[in-house]
Amino acid sequence: MSREPFSKLTSRTFVLSQENIDTDQIIPARFLTSTLRDGYGKAAFYDWRYDANGRPKNSSIFNGYNRETHKILVAGPNFGCGSSREHAPWALLDFGFRVVISSDIADIFKSNALKNGLLPVTVDDATHRRLLASPGIEVTVDLENESVTIEGLGEAHFKVEPFARRCLIDGVDPLGHLLNQVAAIEAYERADR
């Protein structure tokens, strides 16, 4: 999965209102034996979509999902908690999501998502409740202005760590940025030991 730039997106929302959706839900551990970076979309929310025999569940909430129109995931609080697996944002992106909105997103997941072009957006509780209550509503997420505009319901603001934001909008490469610090790193190593 290559890092994809992000600046602005308008799409319908797909709502998973449950609290504490952990990365084992997003991609179960048995799909982590691959050494590749792509192809994880088919394992996204696998146990929510398929039964023990691998047959699609009739009752799955994902039966109402369309990757062309639902690029914004609205999730319950503490989304992405648990395991640090970067396979979680890889799976969500490959599945079709570009944005995750919640009132509260787990630290490691947030960091991983930002590095792959999946935008984690934390909104206030009132906006979050409104979004949870309106599945499929059209939302515009503008990273430049750090705003979420909800069709007919107004606007809310969010914050993204400034460096990660610049990386997403301008395509700055964080590893390149670190590699540019090599003189400082060498100086630190000399002084350290």
Binding site: E19, D24, T33, T35, A106, I108, L175, I185
Partner: protein, 472 residues
């Protein structure tokens, strides 16, 4: 100068470039631990960009997540869960070889779960920054190290530059008062702490655990407590180093020797949090009346005393958990039938944990119909346990004694429960399906897990205490 916390000091000593409004700090990493699951894509990036591992001498690899815990067959072939799992192991062997990274591979007497071997080898030391592509890296904080889990992209950053881009998190101190009652341990403290803070209460924080009940813990107990920081949402959990820390580390392979040791201890003695240091949040927990804890939901913050009754679900999330876990409202947890018991994982697979379980299983039998798996955390733990006959205790009781690895904690190596099973587990996560599809997980201490194996139901380990009457 302003009073500093343990975390402040370790952080400040590793800042290569200060953070600004525009960019995070460049933070130097002293020790990078890698394993087969979260490293292959990072090595791919390195190879694509023609980069080398900057400090192979500060990088240490092990195999633990995908490795079988059953022995090899007569032809020497290990029973991998899939060909892909085997290839993943082969990829780490190849990557470490190509980049000159030391790998504690299959057959190495030092191999084991990444968070067990780091401390065991003395590679984990006070004041160090330690990262790994694994959320339970917080374990190493038990030694006064600043240790946290990272994603695979960041594994690549550390491989290439030995540094990470990080903003300094907020700080929280959790102080444990009182004296633990008999039969109650670090795992119970951890579950109580997560219940108090909530599964997301530690988000954005580095936690320091302090207070008399933490000082009284063994190093193993401290590791169990720090291990579970991430289940409260905090990437970092740490404890000030003291004499116990130094005694535990002295003489280990990677620990400093001779004059260097004395110098290190002097430096480590200066790491503790100073009087008046600022914390963004303070939490206090009294352990005097703490009971052995179990979880009964699908998030580690949903816990109760082992001898309690299943409460009536009060919210949507609790109803969802109750539907999945199938504990009947108003009924004692002790009425719930257990199908499987797992004693192991980076939370509870060290010698002290195995001793606690063996003390209860000695001379008793695992209840008919219950499958009990005991998986030591490392080759060294396995040898030490066997040297004192713990393997015989488990085997005689009817439990399985396996090879070291993560096993049923993450259930990606083929060790898993069957759909519908109620599993009492000494691991760290009770998420839906974590230990196998539709498996219901109850988290508990090694003592509680052992008692459950014997009784075949959720059971209170305190009734097995020496000289105990019928506590329950």
């Amino acid at each position: 100068m302003k009073s500093q916390s343990l975390f402040d000091k370790v952080w400040a000593r590793h800042v290569v470039v200060e953070e600004t409004a525009e960019a995070p700090a460049v933070l130097y990493i002293d020790l990078h631990l890698i394993h087969e699951v979260t490293s292959p894509q990072a090595f791919t990036v390195l190879n694509e960009r023609g980069l080398k591992v900057r400090r192979p001498d500060r990088t240490l690899g092990t195999l633990d997540h995908s490795t079988p815990t059953l022995k090899a067959d007569a032809k020497g072939k290990l029973p991998y869960a899939s060909r892909e799992a085997e290839e993943q192991v082969a990829a780490l062997i190849r990557n470490c070889d190509e980049h000159g990274v030391e790998l504690l591979g299959l057959g190495d007497p030092r191999r084991g779960i990444v968070h067990v071997i780091g401390p065991e080898l003395g590679a984990t030391q006070p004041g160090k920054t330690i990262v790994c592509g694994d959320s339970h890296t917080s374990t190493h904080g038990a030694f006064g190290a600043l240790a946290f889990g990272i994603g695979t992209t960041e594994v690549g950053h550390v491989l290439a530059t030995q540094c990470l881009l990080q903003r300094k998190p907020k700080s929280m101190r959790v102080t444990f008062f009182g004296t633990l009652p008999a039969g109650v341990g670090a795992k119970d403290m951890a579950l109580a702490m997560i219940g108090e803070i909530g599964a997301d209460g530690g988000q954005g924080y580095a936690i320091e655990f302090a207070g008399p009940a933490v000082e009284a813990l063994s190093m193993e107990g401290r590791m169990t407590l720090c291990n579970m920081s991430i289940e409260a949402g905090a990437r970092v959990g740490m404890i000030a180093p003291d004499e116990k820390t130094f005694d535990w580390l002295k003489g280990r392979d990677f620990a400093p020797k001779g004059d260097a040791w004395d110098q290190a201890v002097e430096e480590w003695n200066g790491l503790a949090t100073e009087e008046g240091a600022h914390f963004d949040r303070e939490v206090e927990i009294d352990v005097s009346a703490l009971a052995p804890m179990i979880t009964y939901g699908v998030s580690p913050d949903v816990s109760a005393a082992v001898n309690a009754f299943a409460p009536s679900p009060a919210s949507g999330v609790e109803r969802h958990a109750a539907d999945y876990m199938q504990f009947e409202t108003g009924k004692a947890f002790s009425e719930a039938k257990v199908d499987r018991v797992f004693i192991g994982s980076c939370t509870n697979s060290r010698l002290e944990d195995l001793r606690a379980a063996a003390a209860i299983m000695r001379g008793r039998k695992v209840k008919r119909g219950v499958v009990a798996l005991v998986v030591p955390g490392s080759e060294a733990v396995k040898r030490a346990a066997e040297a004192e006959g713990l393997d015989r205790v488990f085997i005689d009781a009817g439990a399985e004694w396996r090879e070291p690895g993560c096993s049923m904690c993450i259930a990606m190596n083929g060790d898993a429960g069957a759909p519908g099973d109620l599993v009492v587990s000494t691991s760290n996560r009770n998420f839906v399906g974590r230990q196998g599809k539709d498996v219901r997980t109850v988290l508990a201490s090694p003592a509680t897990a052992a008692a459950c194996a014997i009784e075949g139901t959720i059971a209170d380990p305190r009734r097995y205490l020496e000289g105990a009457g019928d506590v329950a």
